[in-house]
Symmetry: C2
Subunit: 293 residues, 2 copies
DNA sequence: AGCTCTTATGAATCATTGA
DNA sequence: GTCAATGATTCATAAGAGC
């Protein structure tokens, strides 16, 4: 059985990527350390310096990405002193000046966002997924992320009991998601640029894990099997694990040694699952949580 | 019975507002002509010139808004030449430089977005609702936009079939199915900064009507009864009509005479409805379609 | 009441043509 | 060429009728 590589590199992506050739990766998908967040783990780049910190790395991304490749940046500015920071807006403008095309801004709607209540603000339930490209003609497999139409649910679920319906929505490992694959009919719909995903962060001890469904969606949309994915801010390794599951090769760069260890373990699990399942039918496993429409 | 004024002013808001005193309005909510849209009707401000065109008007808004007031700007950049325009980002930065606080960015998720299919893009299903303030201590009635759970808890839940459970959940995307036991017994829930509204703009022949639920939500959130609302780009009069329905005073400015006529008619209808209904119980009518959570 | 079917309708994009 | 205008194409949802 064919295996797929998942390289974990320890270091700053700025220097690590310098060793890679140009036009090398098919997709870059990442959730970078947010400005002024995770101070204890990442050193906390201040909002004012964020663009200056990011730009040289963005230059490397631009170099190593294939012409038909895509760069997905998951980021959201936090509120401070009663205002939203503007560094993300400035980053978009700066990246365009650097040569990137700002193709699209996807909205990740976090259905179960962090609870809380403030006198002058509601809960923040969305993040930006910024799409950048080198050229206007990039690879895009729209069919790979098609979702069942709304009516499909009614038709299929009407024979189920109420408890099953409830479990259907609680998705994660409910034992129901696995079955979805079996009866996804012909009635599929293209998604829009608003993604509805839960924030399921698994059981890892990572400070900023994004849910597997997020990288999964973009990997399926922008790469083929066997393509090469890069996450320059890997964290606990979600992107590489998902890439492996989806039979893509991947490189993950992480500056913190502890996270590299977590990521290695994650990859091994994913590799084992791939073997277990791939040997049987080659299908992806744990289809679980991609409620996108 | 008390009535509420809804003044329709014909002209460019830049000059019309010059006649108003400072610190006069409690809320400004508007959906301005988008760059390069409605060329035939508005003259089409090009994206490159949009910020320059908007800023002097933003200055007037800043002047006439009360210190505890709020300015809501509904806008979305279009795709051109394969890229998203950046003029909205630049506008945010420019407005901050002008003295505004960029307090929040709400996402209006358009459930029924415009159709279409393209090789490198999905359908655009969201718009920005940018919140700006003069001070950090602004008026905000969070309770006024809470999603009433009592309505269907008492009246509908027991009559809900299992399909309704699924359908409702897919509509609001709130994890209803998962939390069904929690909702029962709770009367209301606070929304997040993601609004789920359909785009139905009624039966008017206006090229850019936003749905009534959008201004309604912000009017209820940021004003009290009897407060004064301004829409400097009134269009066919939605904002004023909604304000009237909600027992707020309002001023609407519109540069096109034809739209002023439409708006006047709209107001009259709203006024009649208010009388009809207000005489009975003072409740808002036609609460219709604000699927917000 | 619940389910199925039908129909109306959206602040859109892109490719093509013409000035 | 560059730029502007025009047309073809597109599809998920809500709402309503009918059984």
């Amino acid at each position: 059985m064919k295996t797929f590589t998942a390289d974990i590199k320890h270091g700053d992506c700025l220097t690590v990527l310098a060793d890679y050739p140009a036009n090398f990766f098919d997709l870059i998908v990442t959730s970078p350390p947010y400005a002024d967040r995770r101070k204890n783990t990442y050193g906390g780049i201040s909002p004012e310096k964020y663009v200056d910190w990011f730009l040289p790395r963005g230059g490397q991304f631009l170099r190593v990405l294939k012409p038909a490749g895509t760069f997905i940046l998951n980021i959201k500015e936090k509120a401070e002193n009663g205002e939203r920071h503007t560094f993300v807006l400035e980053l978009i403008l700066a990246l365009r000046k650097q040569g990137w095309l700002w193709t699209e801004e996807f909205i990740w709607h976090k259905r179960n966002c962090y609870p809380g209540k403030w006198p002058n603000r509601f809960r923040d339930a969305w993040e930006r997924c910024l799409q950048f490209n080198k050229t206007r003609h990039f690879k895009m497999n729209q069919e790979a992320v098609m979702v069942p139409m709304g009516d499909w649910k009614d038709a299929r679920l009407k024979s189920l009991g109420k408890n099953d319906v409830v479990r259907f929505d609680s998705q994660v490992g409910s034992g129901f998601g696995k079955n979805i694959e079996n009866w996804v009919g012909r009635e599929k719909a293209y998604p829009s640029n608003v993604l509805h995903l839960a924030t399921e962060c698994g059981n890892k001890s990572h400070s900023a894990a994004f849910p597997e469904a997020l990288p999964e969606w973009f990997i399926r949309l922008f790469t083929d099997e066997g393509d090469l994915v890069l996450d320059p801010f890997l964290g606990s390794g979600t992107t590489c694990a998902v890439a492996q599951r989806l039979r893509r090769n991947s490189v993950g760069v992480e500056i913190l040694a502890d996270y590299c260890g977590l990521a290695e373990a994650e990859i091994k699990t994913a590799d084992y699952q791939l073997f277990e399942n791939g040997a049987k039918n080659g299908k992806r496993i744990n289809s679980g949580n991609h409620k996108v429409h």
